[in-house]
């Protein structure tokens, strides 16, 4: 497929070429080149002669000049070649996209994909709507994972002692040393992250079987090990249950960011949203309470948010368990308990709500403390959640890591007893606390084989690196949830000489086979027997490959009954004076650092802090002022004595409202090896500043601050000292004013809070669906004659603020679809980010001292009376007859008047020609969207390229354009299905129905610009008028 892809590019005349500007310039230059040639004659004439002659002289000159220009214009534009296939492949029609089902490997959640491939190049990943796990959504990380395919810094051949070598040589060497180990019966360890692929697991087992002492060690750097361990205790089976948020009516999350980063966010978001659906026939609104110490995406969405120090989770949950048990009539598992860390009334409310909705209520805990998880299970058991909102019969395999195993392995390594270590899918030296020590120990291991596709902290220490393929080049499968078998199929020929993990293992087991055969065989023997409907294997297989998944019988250890394990209250260590509790958390984009090589993810504003390109120390405003620290001040975070580099890092401070005053929160996943590449990101000019930090990397690695002891990888709770260093580093934030209210000292009377977002509470909504509305400002009288009707289609969009979680999947989806450039840290700092789709995050202070968070996706509103259009002198932005606000790049001269005049500030200007350093990454560009050159304005086009394609395709087939035939990129990717787009003139369309919804409102409607994008009121499940939530008191 490699060559066709190449051919495709040249075949495709609309493939955006970077020299567009140059093409025009060269024309200018050529015209310019003629006139000077004519001038000398003109100037020569008058000398000596008197004036009479000069006029004619001028005529002559002009004549020649004109002739010259005319002649020059006959010359040709640079010759373009068109190179067709020699033999046309069936599947590929140049210029026509084809779609393949596959499975995302961005994380271990295993979401379903539809890969859009154009001329043999995958250019866009979309969610698979039929997929049993993800149900059509796809998160930011998943969306962005396509860029990794076109990463020119991927290893394209195996290396030995850091030098590249051939596969044969590598295999020979590895086989010989493996044989040695085999007959010396020395220990072999295979270290991986969670592997949901039955085939891969089987292959590994088969490979290890030939060794006397071999073990497959699994760990997850974002560990949920405690959940599995707890279930081992309480249910006798070490497994991760499948949480069914769609079934839950009351959800209590304890430190579990299940909408953002915890285990399977897309799946959970979809479920969560389906439990919070308003408007149409079935109106459901679950109640969600979140107990956490920092402001997480999930907490931001919660109806009730309780801010608590990590140390106090245990006590609170104990009280919860106690109350619930009482309500259930059982006797409390605890004799006496210390006073609850929050108002007792609050605990009562939570317990009662949970009990009231028993069997439909759910408590999830994100902590990695087995004790807490056991408590959690106990509560859920009492509530009858098992079998209802928690599914043990079809459990999840999305997290299998065991902290105990990795701890043991590290022990063995330090003893130097391991003979061979094979590392796949993990980067322990970077991810685990004590990485430096591990690095030393690895040197003692005779044979270290890494399957990493990059040279990272671990693979750079390995004797052999046998680079695995990108998942879009691979044949693989996955079983994220028992019974849901997903297929990953290659959509492009391998770029570079990589080899799939299972192929390598097969080769070393002495039975080399291509991955495709390995997979089919494994399915024949393992999956096919579990089929539900009887059909021949071929049909079964083809169906699976076509759909991307197949539902089969779950052969998981059947969920046992609950055996009350000794639930104890984890001791809450009193915080030592002058210390803060450290909380290490994964960012939505960066997770554990697997996104660290992806510029899109670095530039994606964090949904809460809106900061890009860095990690930072989050402090509550109170804590910050106590430390005399302002935003951007670099602070030093010291664990324990603060001795030794590993236990202290320096980061700029970031003030985070709604965070516990006793907590400092730091994001994981930064400071990774390989981020040096971003030194070259962004435009280079006089006052440009580098994207990377002083150490040449993006951010700092916080993993060393975590701890791995007695079988648990701990991210939070460690007491740290925070010291101000006196240095500064301004953060690159896309939003500099964070509150929906204007600064108090500048606020006009009554105008402090701006009516940008309409919100209300559930009871108010039930009483009056239009509650919270600021009144609709439909202009009755119009100064102008109504010259413009929209008889044909009328594209409109509605965004449900109640559904939107702010996860930012849409932002990346838009970036990929529309070739939005990456501009680098300095440009973002200067407020010149280019994202067409942004998510405005507002805080709103509450009476009780808490803070509410509002997420509002903001994109071009495609106003009917667009203020940007009237001011453009050259008609570069005008209105289409389908109601779109068109931006014509090639007509734009770049006055920026339109951007000034846009009340929503959604227009983006090309301040520079943004360099795309990695030429290979040009292959990800969408050929249906122009790559904008310097000096032109751009903005959301409502994916007009998709509209046009759908229209033409409908015309071609002589069919009407059905509702949903056109989906914008943001809409398609949204895991919460918050975005609806369609033809408002079609009364049957979903968007037309939502436009009639009483919740529907439009931002800044009073300006009478008549936006085509509307929003649905944000509704929180709270007592009417009550702010809700509470803050923990020490």
């Amino acid at each position: 497929m490699g060559t066709p892809a190449g051919a495709g590019d040249r075949m495709d005349p609309v493939m955006p070429k970077h020299d567009e500007k140059h093409y025009w310039k060269s024309l200018e230059e050529r015209d310019g080149a003629i006139d000077p040639a004519a001038l000398p004659e003109f100037l020569a004439v008058p000398s000596g002669a008197d004036w009479r002659t000069t006029r004619r002289g001028f005529l002559v000159a002009a004549g020649f000049g004109l002739a010259g220009t005319a002649l020059s214009s006959c010359s040709r534009a640079p010759v373009e070649r068109a190179i067709p296939f020699l033999l046309q492949p069936e599947a590929v029609t140049p210029g026509r996209a084809s779609f393949y089902a596959s499975t995302c490997a961005g994380c271990s959640a295993g979401c379903g994909l539809i890969v859009k491939s154009r001329d043999g190049r995958p250019i866009k990943l979309e969610g698979n709507p039929d997929h049993p796990v993800s149900r059509g959504g796809l998160c930011a990380v998943g969306q962005a994972s396509i860029l990794g395919l076109y990463d020119s810094q991927r290893l394209d051949a195996p290396t030995r002692e850091g030098r590249r070598t051939s596969w044969d040589e590598a295999d020979r060497a590895i086989l010989s040393s493996l044989a040695e180990i085999r007959q010396q019966r020395r220990p072999v360890r295979f270290l991986t992250s969670t592997i949901t692929s039955p085939t891969t697991r089987a292959t590994i087992d088969a490979f290890l079987a030939s060794f006397a002492d071999a073990r497959h060690v699994t760990y997850d750097s974002l560990s949920a090990s405690a959940v599995l361990d707890a279930h081992e205790r309480t249910h006798g089976a070490r497994l991760l249950p499948r949480y069914r948020f769609d079934r839950a009516e009351v959800i209590v999350g304890v430190d579990a960011d299940f909408l953002g980063t915890w285990i399977s966010p897309v799946e959970y978001t979809a479920g969560y949203r389906s439990g919070r659906t308003l408007g149409d026939a079935l109106a459901r609104m679950s109640f969600h309470a979140q107990i956490e110490s920092r402001m997480s995406l999930t907490g931001a969405k919660a109806d009730l948010r309780v801010v608590l120090a990590p140390a106090q989770y245990g006590l609170l949950m104990a009280h919860l368990a106690d109350r619930v048990a009482r309500l259930a009539g059982a006797n409390s598992p605890f004799e006496l308990l210390a006073a609850p860390p929050v108002a007792p009334a609050l605990v009562d409310t939570l317990a009662e709500r949970l009990w009231h909705a028993r069997e439909k209520s759910l408590v999830v805990c994100g902590s990695n403390e087995v004790g807490l998880q056991v408590l959690c299970n106990a509560i859920n058991h009492t509530l009858g959640a098992y079998g209802g909102t928690i599914d043990l019969d079809r459990p999840s395999f999305q997290q299998q890591g065991s902290d105990r195993q990795i701890e043991e392995l590290l022990g063995d390594l330090s003893k130097g007893s391991v003979a061979a270590l094979l590392v796949a899918g993990v980067n322990p030296v970077y991810e685990l606390p004590g990485g430096e020590a591990l690095a030393q120990h690895l040197k003692k291991v005779p044979l270290v084989i890494s399957f990493s596709s990059h040279l990272d902290e671990t693979s750079s220490l390995a004797r052999f690196v046998c680079p695995d393929r990108h998942y879009l080049e691979s044949w693989a499968d996955a079983e994220p949830v028992a019974g849901a078998l997903c297929v990953t199929q290659p959509v492009i020929g391998p770029i570079g000489g990589t080899r799939q993990l299972i192929e390598s293992l097969a080769a070393w087991s002495g039975a080399p086979k291509p991955a495709y055969e390995l997979l089919r065989e494994s399915w024949m023997t393992r999956v096919y027997p579990r089929r539900l409907a009887d059909q021949p294997f071929e049909a079964f297989w083809d169906r699976a490959v076509h759909d991307g998944f197949v539902e089969v019988a779950a052969n998981a250890p059947a969920g046992r009954t609950f055996a009350a394990a000794a639930a104890s209250v984890p001791a809450a260590a009193p915080a030592a004076a002058g210390t803060l509790a450290l909380v290490l958390y994964p960012k939505v984009a960066m997770l554990d650092g697997r996104g660290a090589l992806n510029p899109w993810l670095h530039e994606l504003p964090d949904p809460i802090t809106k900061t890009t390109w860095d990690n930072y120390a989050c402090l509550s405003p109170a804590a910050a002022s106590a430390l005399h620290v302002a935003e951007g001040d670099i602070v030093r975070i010291e664990v324990g004595g603060g001795s030794g580099p590993s236990s202290a890092i320096e980061l700029p401070a970031c003030l985070q409202p709604g965070q516990h005053d006793g907590v400092v929160a730091v994001a994981l996943g930064y400071g990774r090896m390989g981020t040096e590449r971003f030194a070259k990101v962004g435009p280079r000019w006089l006052e440009a500043r580098p994207t990377v930090g002083d150490d040449g990397r993006v951010g700092k690695n916080a993993a060393p601050l975590a701890s791995l002891s007695d079988g648990a990888l701990r991210y939070s709770g460690a007491p740290v000292r925070v010291v101000k260093t006196g240095r500064r580093r301004d953060l690159a934030v896309t939003q500099s004013h964070h509150y929906i209210a204007v600064p108090a000292h500048l606020a006009p009377a009554g105008g402090a809070r701006r009516p940008i977002v309409q919100e209300t509470t559930l009871p108010a909504y039930v009483k009056d669906p239009a509650a919270g509305s600021h009144g609709h400002h439909e202009a009755k009288e119009d100064l102008w004659p109504s010259d413009h009707s929209y008889p044909g289609r009328r594209w409109k969009m509605v965004i449900d603020l109640t559904a939107c979680t702010g996860c930012s999947a849409c932002v990346i989806a838009c970036q990929v679809e529309n070739n939005v450039p990456v501009v680098g840290r300095d440009e973002v700092r200067r407020h010149r980010e280019m994202h067409w789709m942004r998510i405005d995050r507002y805080y709103a202070d509450r009476a009780d001292g808490g803070v509410d968070v509002i997420q509002q996706p903001m994109l071009c509103q495609h106003c009917e009376n667009a203020s940007c259009e009237t001011v453009c002198p050259v008609l570069a932005t005008v209105h289409s007859e389908e109601g779109l606000n068109q931006q014509v790049y090639n007509r734009c001269v770049g006055t920026r008047y339109c951007a000034n005049n846009c009340p929503y500030k959604v227009r983006r200007f090309n301040w520079f020609d943004y360099p795309r350093e990695d030429r290979l990454q040009h292959l990800v560009l969408n050929p249906d969207v122009v790559v904008r050159s310097r000096g032109v304005m751009e903005k959301c086009s409502m994916c007009v390229q998709r509209i046009q394609d759908a229209k033409v395709e409908a015309k071609r087939q002589g069919l009407p354009l059905s509702d949903g035939a056109v989906q914008t990129a943001c809409q398609q990717s949204c895991p919460a299905k918050a975005i609806t787009f369609g033809d408002a003139n079609d009364p049957e369309s979903r968007v037309a129905r939502l436009l009639k919804d009483p919740r529907h409102f439009r931002v800044l409607e009073e300006l009478n610009v008549k936006p085509s994008v509307g929003y649905l009121t944000l509704i929180r499940n709270r007592a009417e008028g009550e702010g809700g939530g509470a803050t923990g008191h020490e």
Binding site: P13, R56, L59, L86, G95, R96
Partner: protein
Amino acid sequence: MNGRIVTIVLLVGTALAGTLLATRIGAVRIPGNHQGYEPAQPIAFSHRLHAGELQVQCLYCHSGAEKSRHAGIPAAGTCMNCHRVVTTAFGAVRAEDDLAKKENRKPNLLVSTELRKLYDALAVSPAGMLPIAGREPVPIAWTKIHNVPDFVYFDHRGHVASGVTCQQCHGPVETMERVRQMETLSMGWCVNCHRQVNQIGVAGKTVYASIDCVTCHY
């Protein structure tokens, strides 16, 4: 007096410039307009012969026009559908046969110079059309004639679907030995046609051709 001489000289010059202009007047055009562009192609493929004399349908080779935005240039494989058997002009074959009969020998295979290029590209031997061992096929690099700037998205599908004939934009290709750009392909040319067909329709049936910017620019 001396001025008079200068005057005469310059009058002559002006006349010269005038005539020069007159001769090149046809070539006066806005930069970027390549009307009349007629480059040589790697293989001297004759549309007159194929589309004209032999009546091969345009869409037979340029099948993309129906289902993709690009009409596309046929793969060499498509040529082989016929040229597996036809290796040179029919007349030449006939003559060779007669000659062979006269000299009573087996007529030997004639391959036209242009078609040889095709076979070379595919690395097959004209005799038996079998791949030549150790020879890599090399794709044929045709020269694009109808170019629009990169910021213009023209889509063949819609036009073919609504019955616009190929000749309307590409001219009487079936009469061209070497293909030549007939129209200016300027924006005005497109827009005016779109305006026109909204009035008079295409091939009798009424159509709607939008003149929105986003019809072509996005």
